[in-house]
Amino acid sequence: MRQRRAHPAFAVFWWLVLLFLYLPLAVVVLFSFNAINSAATFAGFSLRWYVSLFSNDAVIHAFYNSMVLALSSSVIALVLGTFLGYGLYRHRGRRMGWLIVLIYLPIVMPDVVFGISDMTFFVRLNSMFGILKPGMLTMIISHVTFELPFVALLIYARFVNLDAALFDASKDLYAGPIKRALYFVIPAIKPALVAGFFLAFTLSFDDFVISFFTSGPESATLPIYIWGAIRRGISPDINAIGSLMIAAVLVAALISLIFTLKSRKREGNLN
C-alpha cells in the first residue's frame, strides 16, 4: 500500500496540539519536585512537597473522600447502568427507542446546570423532609446520575454488537435465567463492564463542578481542596497533588487498556 505523506503544515499543527496538551501537565509534574517554593524557577530535585502533602490531614481527608466517592458512585453507576443498557438493548426495536435520547441528554448537559439543579433539589428536599443533608450521600447520588448515561451507552453498544442469536443459544444449551446471566451475559459484556467502571471512576475522581454544588462541609474532595487552596495562592504542594492525580488516572487508563487489548485478542474485532 502507498503511504501518504502528510503536508508539512499538518505536522506543525500536530506538534502544536501535543505541545498545548502536554506541556502544562509536564510543568506541573516538574515543579512538584522543585526544591524551592517557586512557580517560576526550578532549583533542583526534592520530594519535600510530597512529604508535606502526606503530613497534611486536610489533603489526606480530601483524598479519602475522593476515593470513597469515586469507588462507590462508579460501582453503583455500573450496576444500574448495566441494567439500563440491557433494557435499552432489549427494547430498541419497539416504540421505546426514542428513550435513548433521554440517556444522551445528560451527557451534553453543562455540569454547572447539573450541579445547581442537584443542589437546589437536595436543599429543598432537606428543608421539607429533613433527609439528604448535603454531604457524601448527596454527592454519591449526584455522581451516579451523571455517570449513569456513559455506562449505559457503553453497555448498550456492547449488546448491540453481540449476535442476538447468542441469547437463544444460551437458552438452547440448558442455561436458565441465572446461569444465563452468570455464564453468558456478564462474561460477554465484561470488556464494556471494565471500560464502564474505569470511565465512571475517572469522571467522578476529577469532577469539580457537581461535587462543589452538592458537597457538605465535611465531604470536600481533592478537586474541591485544590480549588480552596488555590484561592490562597498556588503552592508547590498543589503541583504534587496534581502529579499524583495524573499518575492515578494513567494507572486506571492503563489497566483499562490492557483489559481491552486482552479481550480484543480473544474476540478479534468484535469490540
Binding site: A165, L166, D168, D172, L173, Y174, A175, A188, R266, N269
Partner: protein, 377 residues
C-alpha cells in the same frame, strides 16, 4: 470412507441409547398457530408428525414460517395455540433450557468470549456435568467431527466451515433427542456446502438422531432429507419423500418451488386426453377426476430434429413442433427455451456430446404420457 460399523464405534453410547429410546425423539405438532403483531401470520394451524430418527426438512421461501416452526420446537418462541409433543411428552409450555433439543443456528451463535473447547462444553456445564466427563465427551465429539485440532482456538480465528462444525459439535455433544438446524449451510460457499450436505446426511444416519432441518434451498432439501414439508404462507402445502414431492406435487406452489417447471392450465379432460394451452396431450391414466394444471419437468422432454423418427415412433408420444428461442449451456446439461405454438416451454437436455440445437432451429418436442403430471388444485 470408513465403514458404517467403524463409524458407529465413535458413538457407542449414543447408538445404544438411540436404539432403546427411539420413540423419545418423535415429534407431533397439533394445530400450531402463531401471529406476529396483528396481521403477520407466521403459522396457520399446522399439524405435523416427524418420525424418530428421521432427517426431516422444512422447506419454503423466506417468510413461510419454517424458522418460526423450528423456534417453537426449540422453545425459543411460543405458539399462540396448538401443542408440541416431543417423544410423547407435551412440551408446549416447557422452557427452552429444559428441553432435550439442541439447535445449530444460522449464524452459528458461538460465544465470542469462550474458546472452542468451552463453547462445545457449554451445554454440559450448564447441566452440571462434571469436568472429567465433560472433557471426555467434548474430545470424543471433536474427534468424530475432525475438529480436535481446533479446541484451543478462539472463535474469531476460525473459518465459516470450521464454525459450522463447532456449532454442530456444541449441539450434538449434549446428545439431544432432536437436533434442529436453521439453514446452517447458507453462509458457506457452494463447494464446501455440498461437501457438508453429504457429511451431515451421513452423520445423521450414523447417529440415528432425529434432525429437523430448515432451508430455502430445494436442492439441498432433496439431497439430504428422508421427508420434506413444504411451507407456504404459514401452512404446510405437502409432506413427502423427495421423489414424491418432485414427481407428484400436490399444488402449483410445490411444483414451482421444487425443480424447474413447465406449468399449463388444463381447460378440459376427456379420458386419457387433456386439453391445454400447449395443445392436446395424452396422459398415462384416465383416473383421478378433474385436473387443473399439467406439469412437464424440463429434463424429461426429448428433443429431436423435425421429421426424424424420434425416440420411439411406435409409442403414443406427445409430439409438438417447437423452435429454439434461447440456449443456456451448463456443461452436463443444456437448457433450451422453446416456443411451442406461442407457448414458452423449457427443456433440459443431457449433453451427450452430439450436435446441439441452435437458436432459431425447428425441433420436435416429445413428451411421454407418463411424464405429464396432473395437479388438481
Amino acid at each position: 470412507m470408513p465403514t458404517d460399523s467403524a463409524t458407529r464405534e465413535e458413538f457407542p453410547d449414543k447408538a445404544a441409547a438411540r436404539s432403546v429410546s427411539r420413540d423419545a425423539s418423535s415429534i407431533t405438532l397439533k394445530g400450531l398457530s402463531k401471529r406476529f403483531g396483528n396481521d403477520v401470520v407466521a403459522l396457520d394451524n399446522v399439524d405435523l408428525t416427524i418420525e424418530a430418527g428421521e432427517f426431516f426438512t422444512l422447506l419454503g421461501p423466506s417468510g413461510c414460517g419454517k424458522t418460526t416452526l423450528l423456534r417453537i420446537l426449540a422453545g425459543l418462541d411460543s405458539a399462540d395455540s396448538g401443542s408440541v409433543e416431543i417423544g410423547g411428552r407435551n412440551v408446549t409450555d416447557v422452557a427452552p433450557h429444559k428441553r432435550s433439543v439442541n439447535t445449530v443456528f444460522q449464524s452459528y451463535a458461538l460465544f465470542p468470549h469462550l474458546n472452542v473447547r468451552d463453547n462445545i462444553a457449554f451445554g454440559l456445564k450448564m447441566r452440571g456435568i462434571g469436568k472429567a466427563e465433560s472433557n471426555t465427551r467434548v474430545e470424543q465429539m471433536a474427534a468424530s467431527l475432525k475438529i480436535d485440532n481446533l479446541l484451543a482456538r478462539q472463535i474469531h480465528q476460525l473459518s465459516g466451515g470450521q464454525r459450522q462444525r463447532i456449532a454442530l459439535a456444541r449441539a450434538l455433544v449434549n446428545e439431544p433427542d432432536v437436533l434442529l438446524l436453521d439453514e446452517p449451510l447458507s453462509a458457506l460457499d457452494a463447494g464446501l456446502r455440498s461437501d457438508l450436505q453429504v457429511e451431515l446426511k451421513r452423520l445423521q444416519q450414523r447417529l440415528g438422531m432425529t434432525f429437523v432441518f430448515v432451508t430455502h434451498d430445494q436442492e439441498e432439501a432433496m439431497v439430504m432429507s428422508d421427508r420434506i414439508a413444504l411451507l407456504n404462507g404459514g401452512s404446510i402445502e405437502q409432506v413427502g419423500a423427495p421423489p414424491e414431492v418432485y414427481e407428484r406435487p400436490r399444488s402449483r406452489f410445490v411444483a414451482r418451488f421444487i425443480g424447474h417447471d413447465n406449468l399449463f392450465p388444463v381447460s378440459s379432460r376427456n379420458g386419457y386426453t387433456i386439453n391445454t394451452e400447449l395443445g392436446m396431450l395424452t396422459t398415462e391414466s384416465s383416473a383421478g377426476g378433474t385436473a387443473s394444471l399439467a406439469l412437464i419437468r424440463p429434463e424429461i422432454i426429448e428433443l429431436s430434429a423435425p421429421g426424424s423418427a424420434g425416440a420411439d415412433p411406435t409409442l403414443a408420444l406427445n409430439r409438438l413442433p417447437g423452435r429454439v428461442r434461447e440456449r443456456f449451456y451448463r456443461g452436463a446439461t443444456v437448457e433450451y427455451h422453446l416456443d411451442c405454438g406461442g407457448q414458452h416451454i423449457v427443456a433440459e437436455a443431457t449433453n451427450s456430446g452430439e450436435r446441439l440445437f441452435r437458436i432459431g432451429d425447428q425441433v420436435q418436442v416429445e413428451i411421454y404420457p407418463e411424464d405429464v403430471i396432473l395437479i388438481n388444485e
